[in-house]
Amino acid sequence: MSNVNAKVRPDTPLANIQFQSDKKGGVKFQELGFYGHLTLRGNSGDAGFVSSVEAVLGLSLPVKALSSASNADVSIHWISPNEWLIISAKGDEAELEASLRAKLTGHFSVVDVSGGQTVFELSGDDVISLMKKSCGYDIEAELPQGKTVTTHFAKASVVMTRVDEHCFRMVVRRSFADYVWRWIEDATQEFGLVIKL
């Protein structure tokens, strides 16, 4: 160990992209890297499971299909009847995992997937047009604020949440991030693309 400078330098999946930002544009892009991501599995019919999750996160467990709950730092998204994705802006996934494991009982699983996922935030006046070029989901009518869907973006699978009228967040798998980025870069040529670093 002594021979090596072990200064730890993490990289987001888009660490190697040389971003070329337009001065103004109809779509804004930001990679929200280094967020904590945990996959939580369990039985929402088990009151103990529900209350334990709520106690740890301070958020009620979204049991309704395709719903989510969030506060300033943490959000939790319904993925399937027994699966949720927890995203923490603070990158404190290890602590969250430990707290959940300490509190949960019975059959459950908590898996750290932080290294395997990143979050792309897309916003701007033309963001709906970009989404329609990239995704078959009915963004306009079927994706209100706070709803989370697992769908496709171009040919990559993503977990998509509407943040507000003109802002979406997509959870993208690390290995697909470059492809999704290149698709966005291509599809926004007609709108202009502003990169938020």
Binding site: A6, V8, G115, D178, Y179, V180
Partner: protein, 1005 residues
């Protein structure tokens, strides 16, 4: 000769904007607002094509997507598009167009000069003439196609881009004529999301050329107001220049928008064409109706046109494509052409009306204008070759089956024809609905459908403008209501339009001639494919009674126009010939695409590097910077090998292999599938999905597992490690990751839901790097000080948690090379950092990065299989000599076990996994080469197996291979032979499949 057929005034063209263009190598001028067809007609260009079979000169017949003759090659070089209808192509500055048919040119045609090859081409010509010898078919076809000409595909990459947009709407309206526009207005008012698409550059359909008034003003005023109103609605999407090419199940429609084809050959702004993928709650079809020509002798001579097209060219484009007109009609609407022609100051020679009389308004108007009308007459023949010079008019009987008296020729240069109106049922057919013949409208109507679909306007045989406008409003409100908007009643005032009183039309298709059909000059039914009435009669005489068979035998409707003009007439001729009604013979149906569609529009942006996702590991930038060449493994890019300057591939592999065997190598193994399994029943679940036993695997231990399908054949393999008593991490092959997870979920959810187990993919979470070779422990020791690396405390098939290069890691002591080996897993955001730290630490040992190819060689030297390479879905664990991996004492069964006792699985002469050593140490057997026992056996030889993996081994100093050979386990030491396609026969000795370190000592050091 500049635009000598252009009228002095009128039309929806801008005379101030002169546009230069060229056709067939000659330069012309037109105006903004012209189509290529209207501009060519304005310039007096008669011949724009040569026919497919008979090479006859052909001119413009129609004015829209139905056009069978005016099909051109637009542009040149990489951006050229074949099979564009001149009637739909808007003129732009510098447009270059050429005929698709006619070689070497339309005016000097080789086939015509050689004596009309068509004389030798009766229906069924291909079948009769060129069936044998079959191998020459390609040669015949090549010649025929070149001479006939069906357009040329560009050979260079397309400089333009194309893209796609997804839409969801409540009401999708196809066609923006009076009915479609009204429907859009009514639907829009309810707040429903509306899309209205029309293939023309301007919306309006028949309103663009009608002379009827709406609300007491020219129709163009209502049209303008309506389009503006629609564009003002935020819930309405107006798509001009957009062809609905296909209507598919669940109200999914594909709409091709030509965004820039009217601006130039190469797009000046973004995508040239855009495919709108529309998913609609309700669909309103308002595509209108298509005028049907009457069939008579020589009806293909340039100058014979649809009556409605005459009006369109006069009123919309201010073009009079001739001087002296004869009309042949079976209904009132044919009179409109004569009235418009007369009002344009051109000469109407006369109107031949097949009916005995009519008191319709248009007929009365024609009479008032003093136009000559011949009732109970028809044009039975056109005279001319490169242009009509006369029409032969004869009296016919009331049934329209016989000429009843002497004919007379009238000099003219243009003949307008109207046999009635065929509803455009194409789209309604796309979803499988069969159209239904209706005697009242003399046409097919849309049949029953399972789609949420409404039909309105001329499509339903309503040809009154007032009906279309009113019904459009009604249907628009109704469709919106069914989509959940409004109460279904229309609240928009119906525009006032005078009803046009019309006389009864006659069902006339083929006009009789004084000679029989087979003796008369050719009467063309389908002009694009040169199908004649005589040809259809011949087909029925030869026994083809099904209309689908007649179609295929004669090629009726097979052209790029899908027989839009010819099909109904063809059905009528066939029916008449078979003494049946059209209702009895029925019709063929139409399939997508409505008009020819470019491949670019279908592909969209899913091309080149965006064609398929390319997946990268966290170390990709390092691999690229260090000269890696890449191999595609599934969607992943994996380093293949890392050549140094001047090295051949084999030299690189030799270097990488020897470095690993003698010191230390490093592999990026991040792409291996990784599945996290948690739950109290995780062990039992593993027991059931793997062949071997997992009950006793202790925490901190790893085990190789073999996964089978139900048929007992190997499906996947990998190492699974015990993280905690109820927590395991399972690895899969790179290509199998998604399938394996799906497979495990399937079994869990459908067969064993009682097992408490949750599975989560963590493939992307972990970056995995394998250091392998006798010095790997020393390298690891330099970057890890919290794991006891002593060989007796951290043993082969153990894993430990610790810190590597400052990063929390899981280190697995497993080996795919047979060497001392550590697989280091770190959270992927730290992957590159740790990789670089290991490379730095390994410098003193000359640590060597290697890729998939060296990995393959190293594992093959050890006889380790790769599922999917050495197995192919037809090999069992026993075939692979892996019975050691099958648990004998498991309480529950495991997937595939039952199949072991099937007679075919249990037989002993199956292909079995062995090694091969070529007699010539430098010859590398081709993978896939088939083995025979006797090289001198005559063909077909008895094949006894094949090579699955084959390499040169630097450490062994000779080539070697892995193979599956029948009864191979018992035949070690024998020779097998590989006769190759290049004439060589390679001899190899069957050996054990482990070539290196047979005792397996090196991985335990």
């Amino acid at each position: 000769m500049s635009q000598n057929k252009r009228l002095d005034s009128g039309g929806r063209i801008d005379r101030k904007k002169v546009i230069n263009f060229s056709f067939d190598g000659k330069s012309y001028k037109g105006f903004d607002g012209d189509t290529l067809a209207s501009a060519l007609l304005a310039n007096g260009v008669d011949i724009i094509a040569r026919s497919f079979k008979y090479s006859r000169p052909r001119g413009i017949t129609g004015h829209g997507s139905e056009e069978p003759n005016g099909v051109i090659q637009l542009g040149t070089g990489a951006s050229t598009i074949p099979n564009v209808r001149a009637t739909q192509q808007e003129l732009y500055a510098g447009l270059v167009a050429n005929p698709v048919a006619g070689w070497p040119s339309v005016n000097f045609d080789l086939m015509a000069t050689l004596g009309k090859a068509g004389a030798m081409m009766p229906p069924g010509f291909y079948y009769k003439t060129f069936m044998y010898p079959q191998k020459l078919w390609m040669t015949y076809e090549h010649f025929i196609r070149k001479a006939a000409g069906l357009g040329k595909a560009p050979t260079a990459p397309d400089p333009d881009t194309y893209d796609k947009v997804n839409h969801h709407c409540d009401v999708m309206i196809v066609g923006a004529g009076p009915a479609g526009l009204s429907a859009a207005l009514a639907a829009a008012k309810t707040g429903a999301r509306v899309i209205i698409a029309d293939e023309q550059n301007e919306m309006g359909g028949s309103l663009l050329s009608t002379t009827q008034m709406i609300n007491g003003a020219p129709a163009s005023a209502w049209l303008k107001d309506t389009i503006e109103a629609l564009e003002d609605y935020s819930n309405v999407n107006v798509l001009p220049r957009s062809t609905v090419m296909g209507y598919y199940d669940h109200n999914f429609l594909a709409v091709i928008e030509r965004r820039t084809d009217h601006l130039g050959e190469i797009s000046p702004r973004g995508a040239r064409q855009r495919m709108h993928r529309v998913r609609a709650k309700q669909v309103i079809l308002a595509p209108g109706a298509q005028e049907r020509p009457l069939i008579f002798a020589n009806n293909d001579i340039p100058g014979v046109m649809l009556a409605s097209s005459i009006s369109v060219y006069l009123n919309r484009y201010a073009v009079a494509p001739g001087n002296a007109l004869v009309v042949s009609t079976a209904n009132d609407s044919g009179y409109q052409a004569a009235i418009d022609w007369h009002k344009a100051g051109r000469k109407v020679i006369g109107i031949a009306d097949s009916r005995a009389q009519s008191s319709g308004e248009l007929v009365e108007e024609a009479k008032k204008l003093g136009l000559k009308i011949w009732f109970s007459h028809a044009v039975i023949e056109a005279k001319g070759s490169r242009r009509v010079y006369a029409a032969t008019v004869a009296p016919i009987n009331a049934e329209g089956t016989q000429v009843t008296g002497a004919s007379q020729n009238y000099d003219c240069d243009i003949i307008a024809t109207s046999g009635g109106w065929s509803p455009v049922v194409h789209l309604s057919c796309h979803t499988g609905s069969r159209p239904v013949w209706n005697d009242d409208i003399i046409g097919f109507l849309p049949g029953k459908t399972v789609q949420k679909q409404h039909c309105v306007g001329s499509l339903m045989g309503q040809h009154q403008l007032s009906d279309s406008l009113e019904q459009g409003l009604v249907i628009g409100a109704q469709a919106a209501c069914e989509a959940g908007f409004g109460d279904g009643s229309n609240s928009i005032k119906v525009p006032s339009v005078d009803l046009v009183k019309t006389g009864q039309a006659q069902a006339l298709f083929l006009v009789p001639h004084s000679k029989s059909v087979s003796r008369a000059p050719k009467q063309f039914v389908d002009m694009q494919n040169d199908v004649t009435a005589a040809g259809i009669e011949l087909a029925t005489r030869e026994g083809f009674e099904s209309i689908e068979h007649v179609k295929r035998y004669t090629a009726l409707g097979f052209g790029t126009d899908q027989g839009k003009l010819g099909n109904i007439n063809g059905m009528a001729v066939a029916a008449q010939s078979l003494n049946k009604t059209i209702a009895e013979t029925g019709t063929t149906i139409f399939r997508p695409s409505y008009t020819p569609t470019t491949f670019g529009a279908i592909a969209g942006r899913d091309t080149d590097s965006l064609f398929d996702p390319i997946r990268y590991t966290a170390m990709q930038s390092w691999h690229e910077a260090n000269g890696a060449l890449f191999e595609d493994v599934g969607q992943w890019k994996r380093p293949w090998y890392f050549p140094k300057p001047g090295e051949t591939m084999q030299q690189t592999l030799d270097r990488e292999c020897l470095a690993t065997r003698n010191s230390v190598g490093i592999l990026d193994a991040s792409t291996l599938g990784k599945i996290d399994i948690q739950g109290k029943d995780a062990r039992e679940f593993l027991n059931r999905v793997y062949t071997n036993a997992w009950s006793k695997l202790a925490v901190g231990k790893c085990r190789y597992g073999l996964m089978l399908k139900e048929d007992g054949m190997i499906m996947d393999d990998g190492v699974t490690s015990c993280i905690a008593d109820d927590h395991f991490i399972l690895t899969t092959t790179t290509g199998g990751a998604a399938n394996v997870l799906e497979w495990l979920e399937l079994w869990h959810q459908t067969e064993w839901p009682e097992l408490d187990v949750y599975m989560t993919s963590v493939t992307d979470h972990w970056s995995t790097m394998t250091i392998s070779g006798p010095n790997s422990r020393k390298v690891l020791a330099k970057v890890c000080d919290d794991i006891d690396l002593d060989k007796d405390s951290f043993k082969f098939m153990d894993w430990r948690s610790g810190t590597v290069a400052g990063v929390k890691s899981r280190v697995f002591r497993i080996s795919f090379t047979g060497e001392l080996s550590y697989e280091i897993n770190v959270q992927a955001n730290h992957g590159l950092h740790v990789w670089e730290a290991i490379m730095e630490a390994g410098k003193e040992f000359d640590i060597t990065p290697y890729g998939t190819e060296t990995m393959h060689v190293l594992r093959a030297e050890k006889g380790f299989i790769i599922v999917g390479q050495d197995t192919d879905g037809s090999v069992t664990p026993q075939d692979m000599d892996m019975s050691w991996c099958i648990g004998k004492n498991k309480e529950f069964s495991f997937i595939g076990k039952r199949s072991f006792t099937r007679p075919d699985t249990a037989r002993t002469d199956r292909k079995q996994f062995v090694g091969l050593k070529p007699k010539d140490a430098n010859v590398i057997l081709p993978e896939g080469a088939q083995a025979v026992r006797d090289p001198n056996e005559s063909i077909p030889m008895t094949m006894v197996g094949h090579v699955t993996s084959s390499y040169y081994s630097a450490v062994l100093g000779h080539s070697f291979a892995l193979a599956v050979i029948k009864d191979g386990h018992n035949r070690k030491g024998e020779s097998v032979y590989f006769p190759l396609a290049d004439g060589r026969t390679i001899e190899a000795e069957i050996t054990d499949y482990v070539f290196y370190d047979a005792k397996g000592e090196k991985q335990h050091v």
